[in-house]
Symmetry: C2
Subunit: 186 residues, 2 copies
């Protein structure tokens, strides 16, 4: 038996994080642009979010969360906590917008933020620099940037899950095989 | 209080199913093509699948599952069960392939299968026609096609989940907020 490389965890590497972050706008665009409106506005009941809501949330993150917090770590360290992130800002901000315009805005903001990230020329030592989250306490630049990546992927998962569950009844007996509908983790 | 339209379930509609099915190749392409190999080969431990494995699995579905089964429903009805689907075929079939070539093949097969689906000119009555699944028993054409859609979305969810979990440690205290890592359903 040979020792296999660990395929379940990766260490943070800036070029890999950027590879994923830079792909999110086109991924969302390919999946959602032009989709019938009933799917774009679909959700999982109650106060859960639709794909439309998620894109608005991602826009708000580009505007107020990731790069502004990275700058705060560099400029203020642990001395002042980050601004709290408003998880509901998109409900007002996206009102009367089209999905197409939200996708365009997200792509533009993400591109600009990745240019700003590159311009910071962060070193390995910078990745260890610390800031203060208003609820989670001390966090590092590396953790902030890894979370930016995982947060994108979390919401991509959410979008496909919301869409899949629209057919929870229509799939009939196949429901048992579809983990996203049956709820079992696979 | 007004009655809100149900946003948690949709009835099967052919043009909507095709809208989703036709977007999957470009969605996978945008997310995965050119991603560093460590991410393409990442998995969740044990016998779980990587993004590379998932694309191979989707290819095998195009070759042996969806359209062949639709034809069996039309030609044989409930008289003969579908061929069993091999959930592990991709491990041999994808060996020594590049992700780029798998993405190309999947896109070509999906395009051809959607052309074949259109050429079947299925009516509403056809969607009620029945076939026999080797394990699940009697199923309808509508259920088969809805499952094709949900199956795509299930695996898109899987890919983003596998990628996100690679940073389970790197996100530090933010782990608590990332449902895809913490494991809570949101």
């Amino acid at each position: 038996m040979s020792l296999e490389t660990n395929r379940t965890r990766r260490s943070f590497a800036m070029h890999e994080a950027v590879a994923i972050l830079s792909r999110t706008p086109a991924t969302l665009d390919a999946q959602l642009r032009g989709l019938p409106d009933g799917w774009v506005q679909a959700h999982e009941g109650g106060q859960t979010w639709s794909p439309f809501d998620v894109v608005g949330h991602l826009i708000h993150g580009e505007q107020t969360d990731w790069i502004p917090r990275a700058r705060m770590i560099l400029e203020e360290g642990e001395s002042r906590p980050f601004e709290k992130f408003d998880r509901f800002a998109q409900f007002d901000a996206s009102r009367n917008r089209t999905l197409a315009s939200l996708l365009d805005e997200f792509a533009a903001l993400r591109g600009e933020n990745l240019r700003q990230l590159a311009a910071l020329h962060l070193t390995e030592a910078d990745l260890d620099r610390r800031g203060r989250h208003p609820e989670l306490g001390v966090v590092t630049m590396r953790q902030l940037l890894a979370t930016w990546v995982a947060h994108d992927l979390d919401h991509l998962t959410q979008i496909s899950r919301v869409l899949a569950r629209q057919y929870s009844d229509e799939v009939g007996p196949w429901r048992a095989y579809l983990r996203i509908i049956s709820g079992s983790q696979g």
